[in-house]
Symmetry: C2
Subunit: 142 residues, 2 copies
């Protein structure tokens, strides 16, 4: 994972370049996403933002995260119950979810690009996105 501060600057620059405004609530969401390594849910972000801005609405978190998705500064990973978000690697990459504690991490897998290429080749599809999700029990929960 890169430096949270540098990552935050990137996000801020993108927001600015697209002429979106920087509000305190947005900044709070950006900071959480830039700093977190645990793939937080909307609810997770909400709880954290509320500590600083208690009147914040859940819808604001949804809208901010949705905006960040549009400008490709956050990746949404849909799991069975709800979505989790990665603000550090806002492009498709593999994930592993612990079915017991919910921990999500990024495995460093070789050959992902080849796999995508193979999928395109054998199907004839133009592939624009992918989700590679693994489910299991993390070392702590075993």
């Amino acid at each position: 994972m890169a430096d949270p501060q540098a990552r935050l600057e990137q996000m801020l620059a993108k927001l600015k370049s697209r002429n979106f405004r920087l509000t305190p609530q947005r900044l709070a969401v950006l900071q959480i996403l830039a700093a977190s390594t645990n793939h937080p849910s909307v609810e997770d972000i909400y709880e954290e933002v509320k500590q600083v801005f208690p009147t914040t609405s859940l819808a604001t978190i949804y809208k901010t995260v949705s905006l960040l998705k549009e400008i490709h500064e956050v990746l949404e990973i849909r799991f069975t119950d709800s979505s989790r978000f990665d603000g550090n690697k806002p492009y498709p990459h593999p994930h592993i979810l612990c079915l017991r504690c919910g921990r999500v991490l990024d495995p460093e897998l070789p050959g992902v690009d080849q796999l995508v290429a193979a999928a395109a080749a054998c199907s004839g599809y133009q592939i624009v996105d992918h989700r590679l999700n693994f489910y299991g029990i993390c070392p702590d929960c075993q």
Copy 2:
């Protein structure tokens, strides 16, 4: 894809061995899943069953599909909007979804087992399941 009739027999045998009852509605759902190659949604199955048993409830389709999932005779693939089901290969395998027409097919990809093994090795997780989904535009829609 294997012979639909043989696949149906397998499903029926599993139902019987687990002492689940065979009802006309269930048989209809099994037949659809055993014969289909297009990864139908619950709604798709519902529309087809209704042609034979017009009073069938949507909840019955949900319950039947859920039962089949429990006994590992169908695979659920969750996409953004709704789930699709594979009754022919009821075990994890890659899928490609066309974002325009919704077509889902099974790419024959090499190296999937190695990828799962690599994910387990580098993370320490005990992996019990996975979803490898690719999104793009199918040849017909390009």
